[in-house]
Subunit: 325 residues, 2 copies
DNA sequence: TTGAAAGCGTTACCAG
DNA sequence: CTGGTAACGCTTTCAA
């Protein structure tokens, strides 16, 4: 910038004004400066600007896995909002590891991001307190935090969605419905389990623990659980699966038709004729990012918790019409 | 850092040494410094470190769309390599818009990233020259650049993959094979088209332009093209589709069985029984990132171009066994 | 409309 | 092993 100033025959500050589109520069002078910038191939060093001004115009996003379609949809939505605000985005995948989540978040904070969107892998967010005190804003998406300061949170209606999916199966005459989902340690899995039970209660159906299969999302585990459920003396006539990965693993594990509704929509579910309770990953990301940017522009309201609706999409597998076998 | 130094009763420089794990600090002194750091909740400001040292320990990744499974797989692989090296990653989606690609890249450069992995949306990368001169490393992934300096490039074997897929259909007796793909302006589409023609030539089959349908990846366009091909007086008995999105759009457009092989594997292709030529997005990302980090650690060899192999996975649709209809 | 000087928080360099 | 001082490239503040 010094060189540019010298080349253009103006003061450093004037170059700064031109670079930042600040008002109050003679157009002719500005043109001269811009010519010098072009000629010297000058590019502003944002680190220096950050150091002085304290604002980086960047945010950090921590998700579970960038390669998972649900989180990549969320990620793209956050990115779009950020870019519209002129912000850049750091991304990191926690792989469901609280320590890695923490490292990523703190590394982003050391880079002095202005804000964070976090899909919590862990439950404890005390480690955020010093950063929040230092003025960094943060929003939780997809899952809430169990501890630490009360922060903006955007979730989907997990319990309600599961309730509607299970109620749909009940409406089609099913009385024994298997529930296959992630481990209860995962917030969303527990909420959907809760919705499953609510639907049974509303229909005055008994709750049978033998029909519940919650555990890690590995295909082999799901396969074993599907086989266990179907081998019961009084087997389920329908299955409700707790998320996209589980639905797909279940489909791969099945070798004969059975009524099925899955939480999460996924690509090609339409061609396979799978009835799903769809949530909206992009909507979740957009809502979280919008909330973050309202904080960044000064919103000091109490922390809010938003819950996005789900949508039941009937495609056959929940209504006794099977394409897959 | 000043406060920490005061609290620990040492000089600024000593704190810096402790923070950066530099050798030559008395362990007792170091402990005292660390205690002060803990007590004051101090976090190093990376912007200032960057300003002084010139290294940011961060890279930028520009892909076509973070929500696309192919690019999200690539993205996750790049991220893993970066994190293993202690680097953070900026991500941006170009949406196939050269101007947006350029803006993202230059914004990353203004943040003084040490390196870039770029999936080119545009063909002209002259704009990179000043950045490269300034010492930033860059690697192209998935597609090469048409102009600008010769840079490391990682591609998959597009022509060879298409050739093997089409040859597979020919081996199963097909003599008229439709080719549905992205517009010829996309490098990968053109390469695969080339492979398609090679396979015909090798089998001494005629090339019929009426069987070619290249254009934007919109479902409506694909639908129209599928209908056009099937309505030909001498319609194709098989289709070769040029990428994952096109394959899925084609499947949605079909209403009766026809032999089909698609470029790109995708989730659930196994359940749908779709034969594909699989490329490896994670492998592409890893190779590109490895190449970038070898440059960052001083490798000054001439730019290299790597081509990753593809793999034909037969699942039925290419062999006359259909699950979908 | 323009400029000069101070200072952001760190690391580099040289001295002790 | 430890410390002082300069400097990184910019923005802020104040003055002209």
């Amino acid at each position: 910038m010094n060189d540019v100033a010298a080349a253009a025959g103006v003061a450093l500050k004037t170059v700064s004004r031109v670079v930042n589109d600040e008002p109050g520069v003679n157009p002719a002078t500005a043109d001269r400066v811009r010519a010098a910038i072009e000629r010297l191939g000058y590019r502003r060093n944002d680190s220096a600007a950050t150091l002085r001004s304290g604002r980086t115009a960047s945010i950090g996003l921590v998700i579970e896995d960038a390669a998972d379609p649900f989180y990549s949809g969320l990620s793209r939505a956050v990115e779009d909002v950020a870019l519209r605000h002129g912000y850049l985005m750091f991304t990191g995948s926690s792989s469901e590891d609280p320590a890695r989540e923490r490292e990523l978040v703190l590394a982003f904070c050391a880079r002095r991001v202005d804000g964070l969107v976090i899909v919590p892998a862990g439950n404890d967010h005390e480690y955020l307190t010093p950063e929040l005190d230092a003025g960094i804003s943060a929003v939780f998406a997809d899952r809430p935090s169990g501890s630490g300061r009360d922060l903006d949170t955007v979730l989907c209606d997990n319990a309600g969605g599961a309730r509607s999916g299970v109620a749909h199966l009940i409406a089609h005459g099913h009385r024994r419905i298997g529930f296959i989902a992630d481990a209860p340690s995962i917030f969303t899995a527990t909420q959907r389990w809760y919705g499953y039970r609510e639907a049974l209660t509303q229909a005055e159906l008994p709750y049978d623990p033998a029909l519940i299969a919650m555990g890690p999302p590995e295909p082999t585990r799901v396969l074993a659980d599907v086989e266990r459920l179907l081998a019961l003396p009084d087997p389920p006539t329908a299955l409700f699966t707790g998320n996209g990965r589980t639905t797909v693993a279940t489909l791969r594990a099945l070798n004969r038709p059975i009524a099925l509704v899955g939480f999460d929509d996924f690509d090609l579910a339409d061609l396979l004729g799978i009835t799903v309770v769809a949530q909206n990953p992009a909507g979740l990301g957009k809502a979280a990012a919008d909330l973050l940017f309202s904080r960044l522009s000064g919103n000091r309201d109490p922390a809010q918790r938003r819950e996005l609706p789900t949508q039941l999409i009937a495609r056959g597998s929940g209504e006794g019409v099977f394409r897959l076998f």
